[in-house]
């Protein structure tokens, strides 16, 4: 098969390319240029920097596969960065990496496979996909600590039939061993933890720079509505946040709720953070059929799934869960199998 491997320069996608080549496929490696930075400069931190593209190029040269850099700057800005800014301004806590998967990697890029004369897209995600009796299944990667099926929970049959995840069949330590055996420089490269366009994790600073007008001052109140202080923009806060609140009351205080209309940030105790259920939107079912009923729900990228029950677009937890921010994603599981996922629009506190 002719396959297109999305290479970030990291060890996972590098090994994914190597594995596909070993299997005898015709591999084409690509790096997506996603972000230019406000002054047109490529990023120097986080994922997808110029030095990452250089790492990917080197791996491609070592593997003797053609390698290209594709310009997705406009799609990324419109589909991911603008959403990011808009979500924060609306009091939500977005996950731009999931948005990037949803709009850029597994939509725009996937739709161009034919243009590149390729049959499937290959990524370095730690997940597994299987075809069983004509239906595509998405499973957690074998290395549970590194499983990334959560960020792929929006994929349906269309995407899964055209994608492969070779690396999810291996433990992470084996991935690094393969990379080291191949003499890949990225074998010991630390994993990228940052959002690729917010290099140093300072998303607040990023917003101050690209969208300063989303900062509107407002009150900090307790759960009874009493004013405790003020803030200079809801975008600096996320549900569950404990630090940087600007108030000290003796016992720990957490952001419990954000109201964008009134620019109010509500602070409460740990108990006030407990959520009994979620209102969802963009509910996706992996098999395209879906349903209701009991399932396991995972609402953090690396967190254990918990028992829950889904009816329509409402998910009720069996036990109340702490600190869930609207804007995040919840993925549904049946054991290791991904059933689907959805966006959290609000939480029933």
């Amino acid at each position: 098969m002719k396959v297109l491997v999305a290479m970030s320069g990291g060890v996972d996608s590098s090994v994914a390319a190597a594995l596909m080549k070993d299997e005898g496929h015709d591999v084409i490696g690509v790096t997506l240029k996603l972000w230019s930075g406000p002054d047109g400069q490529p990023p120097t931190a986080g994922c997808c920097t110029v030095s990452d593209a250089e790492d990917a190029r080197r791996v491609a040269a070592e593997l003797r596969i053609p390698y290209y850099v594709l310009d997705y700057v406009d799609d990324f800005r419109d589909g991911v960065v603008d959403h990011f800014v808009h979500d924060y301004a609306s009091g939500l806590t977005p996950n731009p990496c999931i948005e990037c998967n949803r709009t850029v990697k597994f939509d725009r890029l996937l739709r161009r496979l034919g243009d590149f004369d390729c049959e499937v897209l290959v990524t370095g995600h730690h997940a597994r996909s299987r075809e069983i009796d004509g239906v595509w299944h998405l499973l957690r990667g074998v290395d549970k600590a590194k499983d990334q099926s959560y960020v792929l929970s929006m994929l349906t049959q269309v995407e899964l039939s055209a994608t492969r995840f070779p690396v999810g069949e291996l433990m992470k330590r084996d991935v690094r061993r393969i990379a080291a055996d191949m003499g890949m420089r990225s074998a010991h490269k630390p994993e990228s933890m940052d959002i690729c366009f917010v290099g140093d994790g300072d998303y607040r600073g990023f917003l101050e720079e690209v969208a300063p007008d989303v900062f509107h001052p407002g009150p900090l109140v307790d759960t009874a509505g009493n004013e405790m202080g003020s803030h200079d923009g809801i975008v600096g806060f996320t549900v569950g946040q404990r630090r940087g609140l600007g108030v000290a009351v003796g016992e720990p205080r957490f952001v419990v709720r954000i109201d964008p209309e009134s620019a109010t940030v509500v602070l409460g105790s740990r108990d006030d953070l407990l959520v009994s259920g979620l209102e969802l939107s963009n509910v996706i079912w992996t098999d395209g059929v879906g349903g209701t009923g009991d399932l396991m729900a995972q609402y953090r990228a690396h967190g254990d799934p918990v028992a829950a029950s889904l009816a329509g677009s409402t998910l009720m937890f069996e036990e109340p869960q702490p600190a869930i921010a609207p804007g995040q994603t919840v993925a549904f599981y049946d054991g290791d199998r991904v059933l689907g996922g959805a966006l959290i629009t609000s939480t029933n506190l």
């Binding site: 490529p42 053609p66 290209y68 594709l70 310009d71 700057v73 004369d117």
Partner: protein, 377 residues
């Protein structure tokens, strides 16, 4: 590989490499020295200089050897800005090469009042518009002879005449990098004050070029140091490079007639085949006033990035505008200056022919392009 990217760089002519060989082995001296070893190098360097000057209709001391087109462009503008003369303005055309435009931008940030002159939708600049952009503070005007992206030939002679008539103290510089292979170039006939030429677009080595600077023009050097090139460009001479440049230029001059006729025919035939096979192909290269070896076209609905990848897979090498540091194709500022939208610029590709191009490979390439465009639609 069918190579249609000669505007980016060209294969070295074998005679050039042969001519350069002794300077990597036996004649290795530093041309600035007292002993015979260095004198041999110096003689070779000065002989190359004389040959180059003769070809341009210039005097040997008016030739400064540099590391290539970018350095020459930098020296022409920065040298004029920083010269002892009390003028600081810089004027350039919006479609100039980045080596000019980025230098202009740097000088703007350094305090120069800079002006970029617009072009019409074919890419031609009007001499009067250039004159209008100048004022008594203008130090230098730069207008390239043949555009590297579209192959358009600017009427540099007319621009020089108009500028000099308006203010004879303004230096006029032309980047002749893309033009030397096909156009007759005589600095006296053009009456330019400075001219950039580089070897690697002419079958010569990369890393060598020259700046012609008319006698009497004072430029502050960009590279300070040992004072080579009569103090104007310091740095140990790349004698091999200078010899290679001179040889490449001689061969290019001898080949000019063929470039204009035979290579021109190959390009024209290629153009016809694309037009016949792709109904809605649009020319970005003007129909008249163009070089014999460039062709820039727009194929509606097809991203140049995709087509270039597919062409690469089929063994055809072409390009689009310029690439950014990571390798992704950028939107051509030349096409944007001509009024194309970013989307249209992203549908445009450049094919360029050179001394190795043959009719057979050009026909094959045209067929492949037409086939791929059909597949992509």
């Amino acid at each position: 590989m069918i190579y249609l990217d000669h505007a980016a760089t060209t294969p070295m002519r074998p005679e050039v490499w042969e001519a350069m060989a002794p300077y990597a082995s036996s004649v290795f001296g530093n041309s600035s020295g007292v002993h015979d070893v260095s004198r041999q190098a110096k003689n070779a360097l000065e002989e190359a200089r004389e040959r180059v000057a003769a070809m341009l209709g210039a005097r040997p001391m008016e030739i400064i050897f540099t590391s290539g087109g970018t350095e020459s462009d930098n020296l022409a503008l920065k040298g004029a800005f920083w010269s002892p003369r009390d003028r600081s303005g810089v004027v350039a055309v919006a479609t100039e090469h980045e080596a000019i435009l980025e230098t202009v931008d740097f000088l703007r940030r350094s305090g120069s009042p800079t002006v970029l002159v617009d072009v019409d939708d074919e890419g031609f600049v009007d001499s009067d518009a250039v004159v209008d952009a100048t004022d008594p503070n203008t130090a230098v005007v730069s207008v390239m002879l043949v555009n590297n992206e579209t192959g358009l030939i600017q009427d540099v002679g007319a621009v020089v005449e108009a500028v000099k008539r308006s203010d004879s103290d303004i230096y006029v510089h032309t980047d002749a990098v893309q033009g030397f292979a096909s156009e007759d170039i005589d600095v006296g006939a053009l009456n330019v004050d400075m001219m950039t030429i580089t070897a690697h677009k002419l079958g010569g080595p990369k890393g060598t070029g020259l700046l012609y600077v008319r006698d009497g023009i004072m430029l502050e050097p960009v590279l300070h140091g040992g004072g080579q090139e009569l103090g104007r460009r310091s740095g140990t001479h790349d004698v091999a490079g200078a010899v290679g440049l001179a040889r490449a230029m001689e061969l290019a001059v001898a080949d000019r007639e063929r470039f204009r006729s035979q290579i021109g025919r190959i390009r024209d035939d290629f153009e016809k085949r694309l037009g016949a096979g792709i109904d809605d192909v649009v020319l970005n290269t003007p129909r008249f006033g163009r070089s014999s070896h460039h062709l820039n076209v727009r194929i509606p609905g097809i991203r140049n990035e995709t087509l270039l990848m597919r062409l690469d897979q089929r063994g055809v090498a072409a390009s689009a505008g310029s690439a950014c540091q990571s390798g992704a194709a950028t939107v051509s500022h030349v096409l944007e200056a001509m009024g194309l939208t970013p989307t249209q610029a992203r549908e445009s590709l450049r094919f360029s022919f050179g001394w190795t191009s043959t009719m057979d490979e050009s026909i094959e390439a045209a067929d492949i392009i037409v086939e791929l465009v059909e597949k992509l639609r």
